[in-house]
C-alpha cells in the first residue's frame, strides 16, 4: 500500500484510505442509474449518440454494437500495453475488472459520439473496478465520452482504468465527465498510446468524489503523433482533487500539450504533479505543460509541481504553473461597475473555465463545463 511519504503520493489523501473497509461485489442488478445534470446536458446535446451503459464496471448484457465497432469483453492482447505510472490500484484493476474493449474501425461514422455511461452504486462500502479499452484502428476517427456517476449516498472506492490505443493516423476526441457522489473515493488511471501521426484531444472534467485522483499518461510511440491533454476541475467543501500526469515521448517529431486548470473553494485542496519525459532518440519533440490554479478562499489550497526529464537535445519543452487568488485588479474593476463581490467571483471563475470549454472539440458538449461551474456555485451557497 503506498503512503504519502513517497513522491508519487505526496500531498494525496492516500493515508486516510482503508482498503479493508471495502468489499467487492460483482452483482450489478442493484445498481441504480444516478442522475447528473452535467451528464444530462451532454446526452441532450449529442446527436444520435451510441450509448453504452455499464453497471459497476459490467456492460449492459443487452447491448449490441454496430458493425463498425467490435466490442469484446476480454482484454485483447493488442491493447494490453504496459504504461508508466502503473501502481497498486492499476494492478488491482487488472486483476479484478471485467474489461470492455471497443475497437473502432475507419468505417465508423465519426460524427456519432460514443457515450459510455458508467453507473456505480452499492448499498455498503464497495470497491468497483471499471476498465475500458478503446482502440482506434488505423485511420479511424471517433468521439468518445466517458461518464462516471454514482448516487449521493453510495460509499464507494472507484478504481477506473481507461486505456486508449491509437493506430497510425487515427484521431480521437475524448471527454471524461466525473460526477461521482461525495462519499466516493476515486483512484483512477487514464493512459493513451499514440502510433505514428495519431492525434488525441482529451479533456477531463472532474467534479465529484471526496478524494479523487486521476493519473494521466500519454505516450508518443510513433513519429508525428500529437497528444493534447486537458483537464478542468473545481473543488468545493473538503474535496481533495489530485492529478498526476506523464507525457512520454519515445518517438521523434511528436507533440504533446498539457493544460490543466483548477479552482479551489471552501476547504478544498488541489494537487497537480506532472512530468514531461523525452527519451533519447525522440528528436524534434514539442512538449508543453501548463497548470493553473485559482484559490478562492482562505481554507483552500493548491500544490503544483511540474517537472521535466529530457534525454534528447533537439526538443522544445516548457512548463509553467501558477497558484493564486483572483486578481485584485480584475475584482476591483468589475466591482466598480456595480457588481456584488460574489457575482464578480462567479464571473471571473466562469471566465477562467470558459477558455477550457473552447478546448472541447466534441460539438454541443462545451456547455458541460459551465454546468459544472454553475452546480459548484450552488454547492458553495449551501
Amino acid at each position: 500500500m503506498p503512503t504519502s511519504e513517497i513522491e508519487e503520493w505526496r500531498y494525496s489523501s492516500i493515508d486516510d484510505l482503508d482498503l479493508a473497509k471495502y468489499s467487492i461485489d460483482f452483482d450489478q442488478s442493484r445498481v441504480r442509474e444516478s442522475d447528473s445534470v452535467m451528464a444530462g446536458s451532454v446526452l441532450e446535446a449529442s446527436i444520435e449518440p451510441l450509448v453504452i451503459k455499464t453497471y459497476n464496471g459490467i456492460i449492459d448484457p443487452g447491448f449490441e454494437p454496430p458493425a463498425e465497432i467490435s466490442l469484446r469483453l476480454l482484454d485483447p492482447e493488442d491493447i494490453a500495453y504496459d504504461f508508466s505510472g502503473a501502481d497498486l490500484f492499476s494492478h488491482l484493476n487488472a486483476l479484478l475488472s471485467h474489461p470492455i474493449s471497443l475497437s473502432i474501425s475507419s468505417k465508423y461514422d465519426s460524427a456519432r459520439p460514443v457515450i459510455v455511461l458508467r453507473y456505480l452504486d452499492a448499498d455498503k462500502a464497495t470497491a468497483v473496478f471499471p476498465n475500458f479499452c478503446i482502440k482506434l484502428e488505423s485511420g479511424a476517427r471517433a468521439q468518445v465520452i466517458e461518464v462516471l456517476l454514482s448516487p449521493t449516498e453510495s460509499e464507494l472506492l472507484a478504481v477506473p482504468m481507461t486505456k486508449i490505443f491509437q493506430e497510425e493516423g487515427s484521431s480521437l476526441s475524448y471527454l471524461l465527465l466525473q460526477d461521482l457522489g461525495p462519499k466516493c473515493t476515486m483512484v483512477g488511471h487514464q493512459a493513451s498510446r499514440l502510433m505514428a501521426n495519431a492525434r488525441l484531444r482529451s479533456m477531463s472534467i472532474v467534479a465529484g468524489g471526496d478524494y479523487a485522483r486521476l493519473f494521466t499518461t500519454s505516450t508518443i510511440a510513433g513519429a508525428g503523433a500529437d497528444s493534447s491533454l486537458n483537464a478542468a476541475y473545481f473543488g468545493s467543501r473538503d474535496q481533495v482533487l489530485d492529478f498526476r500526469t506523464l507525457q512520454e515521448h519515445s518517438a521523434r517529431n511528436g507533440r504533446s500539450e498539457l493544460y490543466f486548470k483548477g479552482a479551489a473553494a471552501n476547504d478544498s485542496h488541489l494537487v497537480y504533479s506532472g512530468l514531461i519525459k523525452v527519451d533519447k532518440g525522440a528528436s524534434s519533440t514539442d512538449a508543453f505543460q501548463t497548470n493553473k490554479n485559482l484559490v478562492l478562499s482562505e481554507g483552500a489550497r493548491a500544490d503544483s509541481v511540474p517537472n521535466l526529464d529530457i534525454q534528447e537535445n533537439d526538443v522544445r519543452c516548457s512548463h509553467a504553473s501558477s497558484v493564486g487568488p483572483i486578481d485584485e485588479d480584475q475584482q476591483y474593476y468589475l466591482e466598480s461597475r456595480g457588481i456584488k463581490p460574489d457575482l464578480v467571483q462567479r464571473l471571473i471563475v466562469g471566465g477562467f473555465f470558459a477558455e477550457m470549454a473552447e478546448r472541447i472539440e466534441i460539438p454541443g458538449v462545451k456547455g458541460a463545463l459551465m454546468v459544472l461551474a454553475a452546480r459548484k456555485w450552488e454547492d458553495l451557497q449551501q
Binding site: Q330, Y333, L334, S336, R337, G338, R346, F353, E355
Partner: protein
C-alpha cells in the same frame, strides 16, 4: 423631469501608504454639470479618482464624500457604483473569459434592474460609439486597442446610466476621432440624463471637446485655483509655473499625444 443630484466632496484627505497625497479637497458637482480637474504629474489626480471609487490601497484620513447626502466613503466600490457613481478607468483591466454583456448583466442583477432590453441597448450604444460589434462577445479589454478600451468604457457608462462619472485621463491613448466620439457621448449624457461629470486631465485638448462649466487646478493634493474654461486656456500657455511647478507642460502634452503612460 430629472431629479437634481449632488456629489459633495468636503476637505477630502487621503494617503497612499505613509504618503499624504490629497490634502483637503472641496468640490461640489450637480447633475448636468461638467467639472474638470487639471494638474501636473503627481498632483493627486488619479488618487482622487480611486479614492472616490473606493479602490483598495488608498486610506482616507479625513473629510467626506456624499452622494445625495449618503456617505459613500463608508461603502464598498460596488455599492458606490450602485448608488450612481461610475469611473471611466485610465487603464481598463483585462478580464479573460468575461464579456461586456456578462458584466453588464451582473451589474443589472446586483441592482435588481430589469435587463430585458440590455442586449439591444448595448448594440445601439456600441454602434453610436464606434465600438466594434465583433468585440462584444469577446473577453473584456483583452487585446483591445487603446481607443477600443475607452469606447468600451463609454458603452458601459451609457448602458449603466450613472448619476456621476469620473473620467480619469480619458484622453490618454486616444486619437482625435476617438476623443471626439467619446466626448460627444459624454455631452449627450449630460444633456439627456443630466449626468454630472468630473473630468480629470493633464491636458486641455479634452476640454476643447468637453467644454467644462468649471475648471479646477490641483497642485500637491490641493485645489489652488477654480475658474471657467479660460483657466484651461491660460494653463496651456503658461503651464503650472505660477503655482510653483516648473514642469514643462509641452513635454507632458507630448507624452499625452502618444498615449504613453507617465
Amino acid at each position: 423631469m430629472t431629479l437634481q443630484h449632488v456629489l459633495r466632496i468636503e476637505n477630502l484627505q487621503a494617503n497612499v501608504g505613509p504618503k499624504e497625497i490629497l490634502r483637503g479637497i472641496d468640490l461640489e458637482i450637480k447633475s448636468g454639470e461638467v467639472h474638470a480637474i487639471m494638474g501636473p504629474n503627481g498632483s493627486g489626480k488619479s488618487t482622487l479618482s480611486h479614492v472616490l471609487m473606493g479602490k483598495p490601497g488608498y486610506q482616507v484620513t479625513g473629510g467626506s464624500v456624499h452622494l445625495d447626502g449618503e456617505d459613500i466613503l463608508a461603502l464598498p466600490a460596488w455599492k458606490r457604483a450602485q448608488a450612481g457613481l461610475f469611473l471611466v478607468s485610465q487603464y481598463p483591466i483585462e478580464v479573460p473569459g468575461v464579456s461586456l454583456e456578462d458584466a453588464l448583466n451582473a451589474a443589472f442583477e446586483t441592482g435588481a434592474k430589469d435587463a430585458s432590453g440590455l442586449h439591444e441597448n448595448v448594440l445601439r450604444e456600441a454602434n453610436e460609439l464606434g465600438f466594434p460589434l465583433a468585440l462584444l462577445g469577446r473577453s473584456l479589454n483583452v487585446d483591445f486597442s487603446g481607443g477600443e478600451k475607452k469606447r468600451n468604457e463609454m458603452v458601459q457608462l451609457a448602458v449603466l446610466r450613472p448619476k456621476f462619472a469620473v473620467l480619469d485621463e480619458i484622453d490618454s491613448g486616444l486619437d482625435i476621432d476617438a476623443l471626439r466620439d467619446v466626448s460627444k457621448r459624454v455631452e449627450r449624457a449630460t444633456n439627456d440624463d443630466q449626468l454630472g461629470v468630473l473630468a480629470i486631465t493633464h491636458y486641455s485638448r479634452l476640454l476643447k471637446e468637453l467644454r467644462p462649466d468649471r475648471v479646477h487646478v490641483l497642485v500637491r493634493g490641493e485645489i489652488v485655483a477654480t475658474g471657467g474654461s479660460e483657466l484651461a486656456e491660460q494653463l496651456e500657455k503658461t503651464g503650472y509655473a505660477e503655482y510653483g511647478i516648473t514642469e514643462d507642460l509641452k513635454e507632458a502634452i507630448g507624452a499625452d499625444i502618444f498615449g504613453l503612460p507617465r
